[in-house]
Point group: C2
Chain length 161, copies 2
Amino acid sequence: MFQAMSAAPTRADLTKFAPIQDECPIGEAARASGVSAKMIRYYETIGLVRPVTRSAANYRSYDAAAIQALRFIGRSRALGFSMDMISRLLALWQDKVRSSADVKALALQHVGELQERIAELQTMKAAIEHVAEQCHGDHRSDCPILDELKGPSLAPNGGRP
Amino acid sequence: MFQAMSAAPTRADLTKFAPIQDECPIGEAARASGVSAKMIRYYETIGLVRPVTRSAANYRSYDAAAIQALRFIGRSRALGFSMDMISRLLALWQDKVRSSADVKALALQHVGELQERIAELQTMKAAIEHVAEQCHGDHRSDCPILDELKGPSLAPNGGRP
DNA sequence: ATGGACCTTTCCACGATGGGAAGGTCAAGG
DNA sequence: CCTTGACCTTCCCATCGTGGAAAGGTCCAT
């Protein structure tokens, strides 16, 4: 990569990033995609994105397509998709003959998982709010919140009547 | 610990757990508290709970108070409290002269954090549901969900008119 | 005395992210 | 030409809470 020169290439020519193809180093790709350089490298090591070409100085070089893939990942992360799902979404995205049904199924699965987590958190919140309501919340030490956390007191006689 | 014997103790006496004090090894404490043995050891290493006494064979020995503390932690975890908050809750619990106001403040802070996370997840969920609604979800490949993830297409002229 | 259930420590892994060190490279300006 | 500062590279470590597994010691019942 990095251009096929007809004359003998100078050192600068070899190490520079080719503006012809809109290639840029990782920092710029990070800014353009909203994904940190750290994460871009990480996504590469776990195989979420394909390794990009390197400059003569071993710098990663990103073209517009690579940057768009990173942006795709970034937005997917922001919507809470797991790495695993993102990997599948990326595959669908790049598959010209995908069915939108497959994409929708993934999205709805994620919605379901989000709803599950929301319900869990709401259950926690409601439980805490419930006991907190009954806590006078003043200088006194007795506290239904701590009683709730302590759990059912162990019957001293072992439960026998 | 493990009893002060008046006569010369036999080896069995030294290694056995004292039933007088209701002391038990970690497995039983785990069953009794609902916290895994693994986690009990972890809580000890991070200083969340005080190291318990050991038998002559170096086995951890839990009494009723220790088990109740573990149960307290387990229930707090189940309500989503962070280790840090649990540490403060434990301190309040064991503080005879606490103010219930302090407990309530912690609880309400946690409620606020839960609400924040719930709102985040709900935002994600709503965004996905919104685009998913517009996806026909059939054999065709064009898909507003992927369009959303892809993000705003880069203007080919760089945004200039 | 043997076997199986238990205990001990230590190390590794996850998912996703950040921090930092040590060393190479690039571009601009003196 | 050389320096400087911004950038790149790899590698290691930490997070948080949990689990798994290895390697070795103990306990108890048969």
